[in-house]
């Protein structure tokens, strides 16, 4: 798409500027390619050795794969994972698609506001929200025990696989919602109008036209949600493990941290298998969609959309969505907030009798303070660095003549489909195998930063790419025709026009890095904790109060940064998130 355009631009000048531009482009390509795919090489190596790489000796063997595949616990975990991922996918795709149709195609009151609020779980700290669910809806949770004692009915057991799937589905529903909403916004509603004018009742229009039209979006988001849920670690670890329900992710994590012989090659072998599955799913998704259609373009609508009238169902449906948002997001966040101010949350004693500042005071000490400082620093530095690298990477991918540029979009989207724990284990071995620099990264917070940046880099790309496609290439050509080098054209013309996307990318990266945790679980060591790892460790020891206040710190910073982004930089999170 971009290459042909440059064939005709000022050849004399370009020949002088190309070597530097070419070098820069190659460097960026190498950097992105090396950092995203590099860690998988030591991971593969670790999986075919008979002992951890740091131990002397060792021989090549496939025994780890054999041991893994002969372990009945692994297969049980795989079955649980399949059940969980299928349920999560079904729930979030159906519900996300329904909300998208209601928001984009009907006259439901408050549609736009509901649309924005539906996105919240994607941006709020996922670990914190899960803890909120546990505080409110868990066994002995505040609301679940109230409902049980007053109404004498049981609530959903969130420690079961369906219970965990519901929580995961509420977290991933926005992915389905965004994809479907973007597809509906792009699609012309004239087909639906035609059917209606031919006398088809609304439900028939929905069944025969709208839903079939959404099929690619549903398939796309479904595959992504399936991939994300097989990689999920927090929910299975906090809710499944106490009840002896293991998933592949928790099986690998516990093998890594709890086994008598740590860092076993079995874990690396399991991570390689998971990597293979995730890659196959990504390829399948690309095939389903066609290479270029996998992210949402921000193209204009084909025409004004006529809204389907819900009539008497307008308010009940709006209330249902409102109730869903309240129960799935607002109530857990409120639960966390209250929990952070009490010694414990119980229906037996009114919360004000249990009031305490101690959960907040403790944040000013030791590991808690260190974690907050680290996370804030990493989010800031990571946000800036990743935005800069991805901006140049996106330019190389779509505005250069580099022969290998077409590999970049895939590479920049790849980490989104890779479980965080694989990235964590991959970097763990990569740092160990790269001598001095690796050792520095392994023992400092910067190693964790690198893993976080790579893990979340797709967010920056999916924000930048649609904006870049809207910047006409004739502007570049104009710059080049008057003799500017590739880099100068990018720097003085394209990047300034890309500024809103750069801000949006920074905001998103900041939030995602602040709230990320699972790659760090494999890299963290005394003195390099981040909020997420401290929350998880503390919660696993059964201490809830300080975890709630840490989660509130995350929620607070996230909301403030997003609000700043929305109001000051006019950043709007929409579309493209579905990469």
């Amino acid at each position: 798409m971009t290459s042909a355009a440059y064939e005709h631009t000022a050849p004399a000048r370009r020949s002088r500027s190309l070597p530097t531009a070419g070098t820069l482009q190659w460097l960026v390509w190498l950097l992105v390619f090396g950092l995203v795919l590099g860690p998988f090489v030591p991971l593969l190596f670790a999986s075919v050795r008979d002992r951890p790489l740091y131990q002397a000796g060792g021989v090549f063997t496939l025994a780890a794969y054999g041991d893994l595949l002969h372990d009945p616990a692994f297969w049980r975990a795989a079955l649980h994972t399949l059940e969980y991922a299928s349920l999560t996918t079904a729930l979030s795709v159906v519900a996300g698609g329904a909300v998208a149709i209601l928001v984009a195609r009907t006259d439901m009151p408050g549609g736009q506001a509901f649309g924005r609020l539906t996105l919240l779980p994607l941006l709020l700290p996922s670990l914190g929200i899960v803890l909120g669910w546990i505080v409110v809806w868990g066994p002995g949770g505040y609301l679940s025990s109230q409902i049980q004692s007053h109404l004498h009915i049981g609530t959903l057991d969130i420690n079961s696989i369906p219970g965990m799937a519901v929580i995961e589905a509420t977290r991933l529903l926005p992915v389905a919602y965004m994809t479907c909403e973007a597809a509906l916004a792009r699609a012309d509603s004239s087909l639906e109008d035609a059917a209606r004018s031919a006398g088809a009742p609304p439900l028939t229009v929905l069944r025969r036209i709208t839903i079939p039209m959404l099929r690619p979006a549903l398939l796309n988001s479904g595959t992504l949600i399936f991939t994300l849920s097989i990689a999920s670690l927090g929910i299975p670890l906090l809710l499944g493990t106490p009840h002896n329900i293991q998933f592949v992710s928790t099986y690998l994590y516990l093998q890594w941290t709890n086994a008598a012989t740590p860092d076993s090659p079995i874990v690396s072998a399991g991570a390689m298998l998971l990597l293979l599955v995730a890659t196959l799913l990504l390829l399948l998704r690309n095939r389903l969609l066609g290479a270029e259609a996998r992210y949402v373009s921000v193209a204009g609508k084909a025409g004004r959309t006529a809204m389907l009238s819900l009539r008497v169902w307008r308010w009940p449906l709006a209330c249902a969505i409102g109730l869903y948002l309240a129960l799935s997001t607002l109530v857990p966040v409120l639960g966390l907030a209250v929990m952070s101010f009490v010694a414990f949350l119980t229906p037996l004693i009114a919360p004000w009798h249990l009031f305490t500042w101690s959960n907040w005071q403790i944040l000013g000490t030791g590991v808690y303070l260190r974690s907050i400082e680290h996370s804030a620093l990493l989010a800031l530095v990571g946000g800036i660095v990743t935005t800069a690298v991805v901006a140049v990477g996106t330019l190389v991918a779509h505005r250069s003549k580099l022969p290998v540029r077409r590999t970049l979009p895939f590479v920049m989207l790849y980490p989104r489909a890779i479980p965080g724990l694989i990235i964590g284990i991959g970097f763990f071995w990569a740092f160990l195998e790269t001598g001095g620099p690796g050792s520095f990264l392994r023992q400092s917070i910067w190693g964790i930063l690198l893993a976080f940046c790579i893990r979340n880099l797709p967010f920056a790309y999916v924000v930048m790419y649609p904006t870049l496609t809207r910047i006409g290439e004739e502007l570049d050509r104009a710059g080049r025709s008057v003799g500017a080098s590739w880099w100068r054209t990018c720097r003085t013309i394209v990047l300034p026009l890309l500024r809103p996307a750069l801000f949006a990318s920074f905001i998103l990266m900041f939030v995602e890095i602040l709230n990320d945790y699972d790659p760090a679980l494999f890299l963290v060591r005394p003195g390099t904790e981040v909020i997420g790892t401290t929350m998880l460790d503390t919660f696993l020891q059964g201490i809830v109060g300080p975890v709630a206040s840490l989660a509130m710190v995350q929620v607070g910073i996230t909301v403030i940064v997003l609000a700043l982004g929305t109001f000051v930089f006019k950043v709007r999170v929409s579309g493209g998130h579905d990469a």
Partner: protein
């Protein structure tokens, strides 16, 4: 021998005597000062202790505060971890040659047996006052029992309205009163050790009666939360560190209380060792030594652990002592497992029986 040489022999003998006397003098003078002096001097050059341990942070922080009264320059950082993770994390980090724990504390006899075989512990130091303790205080070279913790019952006194559970048999026999119970899963090593002691004394029958009423948890913190929330009425065979949580926190005191398990108390030996790859070995040894001093035993009692120095009486009426357990439960109803291979070998069968009952 002529007179000259005779004089020379006498002079030499005198010189030798003087030299010997001065050596002996030096030696006896060296015994009098604090034998820990070299450790103290070295600890001042070290950068504090990292502890991978299973005691809840609140209990351990209280203990460290008392330790710091005597050794204010030793900064102690504790990571509250699962027993398995404590050893696994140490093994991984020490093999990689990065900063790791100086002290390990875990209620896991089976893992201590393993770590003694793997040589995780520094064997060069034994706490000075250890002869005032039962012989089992030292399990292996360099691996000691920090606290023989009795598995106890914690209960929600608001929900039980005056009924005090004092035995597992009582909980087992009253499903209507104790319709929801919590406790450790067998996968937690503290849980396994406490259950093992109880089953050794009483068999499985009472646990079978509880069966589906149990909401198992992996840690004592989660059990206390569940009890306080009203999600369970009692926690059986749980960690006595809860004694400190209840006594030090007025809000927990409104709702929770605890009692000994009178039909069979499994002691859970909480082991402690200075690690072989400690970055601050002298500071860690000072901490280890201090635990077994009178001040250390007082602080252990005050922090909800179990003081067990023979003849030691806490000065403030604190009752978290082994002698109190023996007095209230009776010696015959107390079971102390050692860090033995027998205990290790019993685990798989025990765990599968437990999972057969509780899921």
């Amino acid at each position: 021998m002529n007179s000259k040489s005779r004089v020379a022999v006498v002079v030499l003998a005198l010189a030798a005597l003087v030299a010997l006397a001065s050596v002996v003098g030096v030696a006896s003078a060296a015994k009098k000062p604090n034998p820990l002096a070299p450790l103290i001097a070295q600890s001042k050059k070290e950068s504090g202790i990292v502890v991978y341990g299973n005691p809840p942070s609140a209990n351990f922080t209280n203990l460290v505060a008392a330790f710091n009264k005597q050794y204010p320059w030793v900064k102690v950082t504790e990571y509250d971890l699962d027993d398995n993770t404590i050893f696994s994390k140490y093994a991984s980090e020490s093999a990689q040659g990065v900063r790791t724990a100086d002290l390990l504390i875990a209620s896991a006899p089976n893992l201590w047996v393993y770590s003694s075989r793997q040589g995780y512990a520094d064997k060069s130091f034994t706490p000075i006052g250890l002869d005032k303790y039962p012989t089992w205080a030292k399990q292996f070279k360099g691996i000691f029992v920090m606290s023989p913790d009795p598995a106890i019952i914690v209960y929600n006194k608001l929900l039980l309205k005056g009924t005090v559970p004092t035995s597992v048999a009582q909980i087992a026999a009253n499903p209507s009163t104790y319709d929801s119970v919590t406790g450790y899963t067998v996968d937690n090593t503290f849980g396994y050790t406490g259950l093992y002691g109880y089953v050794a004394l009483n068999g499985w029958s009472n646990l079978q009666k509880i069966a589906k009423r149990l909401k198992p948890q992996t840690g004592v913190g989660a059990q206390l939360q569940l009890l306080a929330q009203g999600g369970a009425k009692a926690a059986y065979l749980t960690s006595p560190t809860a004694r400190f949580t209840i006594s030090s926190n007025a809000q927990y005191r409104q709702i929770l209380d605890w009692s000994y398990v009178k039909d069979g108390t499994g002691l859970v030996p909480r082991g402690i060792a200075v690690t072989k790859h400690a970055a601050s070995p002298a500071s860690a040894k000072l901490f280890l030594d201090w635990i077994y001093s009178n001040a250390g035993q007082q602080a252990m009692c005050d922090s909800g652990f179990t003081a067990y120095k023979t003849g030691f009486k806490p000065s403030n009426g604190c009752t978290n002592t082994l002698s109190d357990v023996y007095a209230k439960v009776g010696v015959k109803k107390v079971y102390m497992p050692g860090f033995t291979q027998k205990f290790v070998n019993a685990r798989p069968k025990f765990a599968s029986t437990w999972h057969g009952i509780f899921g």
